[in-house]
C-alpha cells in the first residue's frame, strides 16, 4: 500500500499543514480543544495517558502484594504478629487488607489497563492512519467512549476510597454477593466494570465499521497491515462478548441489592451459572487482550527486519480463527467445578485454539530469516514477546490437559501462566509499540541507550518475578493466599526481588519518555523506514486531517524488497538488488 500522495498539490496548504499537536490558542482554549476533540489521534493520546496512570496504580498494588508475600507471617510469644506488611485489625484484618489490594490489582490491570490498552490508545491513533482514513467511522462515539472510560474508572476509584472490595477480580458468587453486605462499595465496583463495558463496546463497534467502510482506494482486505487485522479481530470479540458480562454484572447487582436469586443457592440460584456467564465473556476477552499485542508484533517484526511477514494470510486468518474459537473454550476455567462431559469437550476445544497462536509465533520467527535485523528498543521488545509468549503458550498445554489441570488449577502456576501471556504478551508488545510509534505520536525521538537499559530491567525483572511462580505452583502453592507455609518462602523472595527490578525498568522508561517530551531530538518523518501509511507524512507527526488527499494504495504493507520507504533519504534503508526483468516476485 503506502501512497502516491495523489495529484500534484497546487493549492495552498496553510492551516491544513499544522501538526495535530499544534495548540489552538491559549492554555484554556487548548484544554477545551482536547476535551472536546473528535480527532482519533488526540483521543488515542488521551487514552494512552489515562491507561498509563491506571497501569501505575495497578503496579503499586502489585508491588504491595509482592511485599506482603516477601515472607510468611510469623508469630512470637504473646501473640505478636511479625512480617505482616499490609496490617489490619488483628491477623484476619491484615489478611483482609491483602485480599483487597490483590483484588484491586486484578481489577485495575484487567478492566482498566489491558483490555483497553492497545486498541484504545495505539489502535485509536493508528487504525485510521494505517488504512488511509481521515478518522474513525464514528468520531463522536469515540470521544464518548473515552468519557465513559473515565466515568467507569471513577466508580472503581470510589469503591476503593470507600474501603475497597475483596471479591477477587472474577467476582465469584456467592462470595461476591454476600461479602461486605452492609456496604455499597462492591456495587460501585461492579457498576464501574459494567460501565467500562460500554466504553469497550463503543471502541470495538467503531473499529469494525471503520475497517469495513473507510479503507483507502486500492486497499483490499489482504493489503491491510496485520496490525489492523489484529485490532479488527479483537474489536469483533469486544462487540459480541461484552454485552454478556454486562448483563451478568447487572444480575449480580440485583442479587446483592434486591435478593433476586440468580447465583446464590441460598436464594435458589446456582453459583456455577455465574462462572459460565463470566467466562463466556472473560475467556474471549483474553483474546481481546492478546490479539492487539499480536497486532503490534507483526508490525515490529516486519519493520525491524525489513521483511514481508512470512505467511501473511496465515497470520491474518489466525487472528480470525482465534476470535472465533475463543467463544467456545470458556469451560476450561471450570474443569474443577463442572461434570466430565463438559470437561472433555472444553479440553479438546482448548487445544484447538492453541494452534493459530502457535502458527503466529512460527511465522514471526520465520520472518526474521534473511532479514536485516536492527535491535532497536521496539525490536528488543518484539523478541522478548516471542520469548515470553512462547513460555506462556507452552505452559497453557499443561492447563488444557485435564488430569494435570486438576493439580494446577487455582495455583501459582496459573498466575505465572497468565502473567506470561498477558503481561509478557500484551504489555510487552504495548511498551514496544509505544516506543515504535512514539516519534509519530509526539514528533520527538526517545533516548535509545536508556530505553534499552529500561528494557533489560523489564525483561530480566519479568522472568525473575514470574518464573519461580511456575515452580511453586506445580508444587502446590494456591493463588490468592495472604500467607503461606515456609516451604515456599524462597520462591516468594525471588519473585518479590524481581518485582523491584520491574519497577526500576518501568521507572527508567517513564523518565526516558518524559525526557523525550521535554528535550528529545526532533523526529524525522519516518525514522524506522516503515512502509505503512502512517509514515508517509512530510512532518514528524500527522496533520489534523491525516492526509491532504485520500491516499491510493499501490503496494503491500511489507514490500520492503521492492519499495523504498517514504520520507527517507535514498540508501538510508538499503534494499536488495532489483529482480531481473521478467522474474516473478514471491
Amino acid at each position: 500500500m503506502s501512497t502516491i500522495e495523489s495529484l500534484p498539490t497546487g493549492h495552498a496548504h496553510d492551516h491544513h499543514d499544522a501538526s495535530y499537536l499544534t495548540p489552538k490558542g491559549g492554555f484554556w482554549t487548548t484544554i477545551i480543544d482536547w476535551a472536546t476533540t473528535v480527532d482519533h489521534k488526540k483521543i488515542g493520546v488521551m487514552y494512552l495517558v489515562a491507561i498509563l496512570v491506571m497501569f501505575f496504580l495497578g503496579g503499586v498494588a502489585a508491588l504491595a502484594v509482592r511485599m506482603e508475600l516477601f515472607a510468611p507471617t510469623a508469630f512470637e510469644a504473646g501473640g505478636v504478629i511479625k512480617n505482616q506488611v499490609l496490617t489490619g485489625d488483628g491477623l484476619a484484618g491484615g489478611y483482609q487488607n491483602y485480599n483487597r489490594v490483590m483484588t484491586l490489582h486484578g481489577l485495575i490491570m484487567v478492566f482498566l489497563v489491558i483490555v483497553p490498552s492497545v486498541p484504545a490508545s495505539l489502535g485509536n491513533f493508528l487504525l485510521p492512519l494505517m488504512i488511509g482514513a481521515k478518522d474513525v467511522a464514528f468520531p463522536r462515539l469515540n470521544l464518548a467512549s473515552w468519557y465513559i472510560y473515565l466515568f467507569g474508572s471513577m466508580f472503581a476509584i470510589l469503591a476503593v476510597l470507600l474501603g475497597g472490595v475483596d471479591t477477587g477480580w472474577t467476582f465469584y458468587t456467592p462470595y461476591s454477593t454476600t461479602t461486605d453486605a452492609e456496604y455499597w462499595r462492591v456495587v460501585w465496583m461492579v457498576l464501574g466494570a459494567f460501565i467500562l463495558g460500554f466504553s469497550s463496546i463503543f471502541t470495538g463497534l467503531n473499529f469494525v465499521v471503520t475497517v469495513h467502510k473507510l479503507r483507502a482506494p486500492g486497499m483490499g482486505w489482504f493489503d491491510m497491515p496485520l496490525f489492523v487485522w489484529g485490532i479488527y479481530g479483537a474489536a469483533v470479540i469486544q462487540v459480541l462478548a461484552t454485552p454478556v458480562v454486562g448483563i451478568t454484572l447487572l444480575l449480580m447487582i440485583f442479587e446483592r441489592l434486591f435478593r433476586v436469586g440468580v447465583f446464590d443457592p441460598a436464594l435458589g440460584g446456582d453459583p456455577v451459572l455465574f462462572q459460565h456467564f463470566f467466562w463466556f465473556y472473560s475467556h474471549p476477552v483474553v483474546y481481546v487482550m492478546i490479539l492487539p499485542g499480536m497486532a503490534i508484533m507483526s508490525e515490529l517484526i516486519a519493520v525491524f527486519s525489513r521483511k514481508k511477514i512470512f505467511g501473511y494470510r496465515a497470520v491474518a486468518f489466525s487472528s480470525l480463527a482465534i476470535a472465533g474459537i475463543s467463544f467456545i473454550v470458556w469451560g476450561h476455567h471450570l474443569f474443577t467445578s463442572q461434570g466430565p462431559v463438559g470437561a472433555a469437550v472444553f479440553s479438546a476445544l482448548t487445544f484447538l485454539v492453541a494452534i493459530p497462536s502457535a502458527v503466529k509465533v512460527f511465522n514471526w520467527i520465520a520472518t526474521l530469516y534473511k532479514g536485516s535485523i536492527d535491535l532497536k528498543t521496539p525490536m528488543l521488545y518484539a523478541l522478548s514477546f516471542l520469548f515470553l509468549f512462547s513460555i506462556g503458550g507452552l505452559t497453557g498445554i499443561y492447563l488444557g490437559a485435564l488430569s494435570v489441570d486438576l493439580q494446577l488449577h487455582d495455583t501459582y502456576f496459573i498466575v505465572a501462566h497468565f502473567h506470561y501471556v498477558m503481561m509478557g504478551g500484551t504489555i510487552i508488545a504495548f511498551v514496544g509499540g509505544i516506543h515504535m510509534w512514539w516519534p509519530k505520536m509526539f514528533g520527538r525521538m526517545y533516548n535509545e541507550f536508556w530505553a534499552r537499559i529500561g528494557w533489560a530491567f523489564v525483561f530480566v525483572g519479568f522472568n525473575v518475578t514470574f518464573f519461580p511462580q511456575f515452580i511453586m505452583g506445580s508444587q502446590g502453592m494456591p493463588r490468592r493466599y495472604a500467607d503461606y507455609v515456609d516451604e515456599f518462602t524462597i520462591y516468594h523472595v525471588i519473585s518479590t526481588v524481581g518485582s523491584w527490578l520491574l519497577l526500576v525498568g518501568f521507572l527508567i522508561h517513564l523518565f526516558v519518555f518524559l525526557h523525550s517530551l521535554v528535550a528529545g531530538k526532533k523526529a524525522p518523518p519516518n525514522p524506522w523506514g516503515a512502509l505503512t501509511l502512517e509514515w508517509t507524512h512530510t512532518g514528524p507527526t500527522p496533520i489534523e486531517h491525516n492526509f491532504h488527499h485520500e491516499p491510493v494504495v499501490t503496494h503491500g504493507p511489507y514490500d520492503y524488497d521492492d519499495v523504498p520507504p517514504p520520507q527517507t533519504r535514498p540508501g538510508e534503508f538499503p534494499m536488495p538488488d532489483p529482480l531481473p526483468e521478467g522474474a516473478e516476485r514471491h
Binding site: G90, A92, T178, T336, D410, P478, R479
Partner: protein, 365 residues
Amino acid sequence: MTSPVLAQQWLQDQLLTEPGSTGAATTDGLFMFITWISIVSFVLLMGAMTWFVIRYRRAGGRAPIRSASHNTPLELTWSIGPLLILVVVFFWGFHGYVEKMSAPAGSEEIVIRGFKWGWDVTYDSGKQPSELAYPGVGAPDQNMVPVIKVPAGRPVRLRLYSSDVIHSFFIPDFRVKRDVMPNRYTSFWFETLEDNPEPEVIPILDETGAPVIDPDTQQPMTKLQYPRHVVYCAEYCGDSHSQMMAFIEPVPEEVFQEEKYMVTVFPTKWEFGEYIWQRQCSTCHSVDGSGGTGPTWKDIWGKTHKFSNAPDTVVDENYIRESIIYPQVKLREGYGSDMNSFVLTEEEFEGIIAYIKYLSGEEPE
C-alpha cells in the same frame, strides 16, 4: 540408571512433590511428557530466533536478502504437527481425569463440609477426626486443622459440600482438587501409593513449639505419626482463605478402624464446647480477648452489647443460640456480616453456651 532417566527424575523433583496416590503417579507421567515437549519446542524456537538475529543483524546498513514470503507445505506441517501431539495430550489428560473422578465400588467414604474458614470432616461412622494439628499458617492457638486419617492402599472417596461460599479441596501430593459447592455434592477419590506406611517418631511440642519433657525420664516425649499430606483451600473464599488447611494421614487399616470408631469423652460440658470451638469457630473468634474477623468470646457472658442493626442486648443463652443460627440478625458494632448460619445439634449448643460461660468465669472448672 541412564542419564536421561536421571535427568527426568531430577527435573521432576524440582517441579513436583513426591506423588502420594496412584492417580498422582499417572498424572506426573503426562506432566513430564508436556515438560519435555515444552523444553524441546522452546529451545528450537529460541535457537532459530537467536541464530537469525545474529546471522542477519543489520551490520553496516546491510540490506535484507530476498526469500520466499510463504511456503504452504512448511506452514501446513507446523500447523498439523503440533495438533497431532496435542491430540495425544488430550486423550492422556482425559484418561487421567476420569481415573481420578470415578471412584470404584466399595470405596471408604468420608464426607467433608467446607465453611468459612475450615473443614468439618465426618467418617462413615458419623465420628469426627480425633486429632487437630497446627499447619504452620495462622495463629498457633487459633488455627488448629483436622488430621484426616485414611486407610492406606484402599480406595477412599471424598464427598464434599459447602455451607456458605465455594471452596476447593486441594491435595497437592495427590495432584487433585475439586470445587466444594454450596448447592450440591461433588466428589473424587484416591488410593495412596504405600499400602503399609512406616510411622515416624515425632517429638510432642507444647503451645510455644518447645518439646515436651517427660517428667519421669527427663527425655523429650514422642509419638508415632504416619507421613501426612497437606490440604489447601484453592478457591478464594475471603479473609482466612489462606489458613483453611487440613492434613491427610494414610494409616494401616487397623489404625484407621480404631480412629473411625473412636469415642471422645468430655468430662464437662464446657470442654465439649471448647472442642466445637476449635473445629468450627476458632479462625474468627478468639477466646483470649484479641481481635479477629468476629468478636472475642472472652468475658462476654452477662455483658450488654451494642449492635449496628439492633437494640442493645445482654449476652445470654438466647442471644448465643440466635447468633449461631441467624448471625445476621444482630451485628456487633465494628464487625462485618461475614458469618453464615451454623447448624449445630442441641448438645453442641449446650457445649458452646457452657464454654462461653466458662470463659467469663461463670462455669466451674
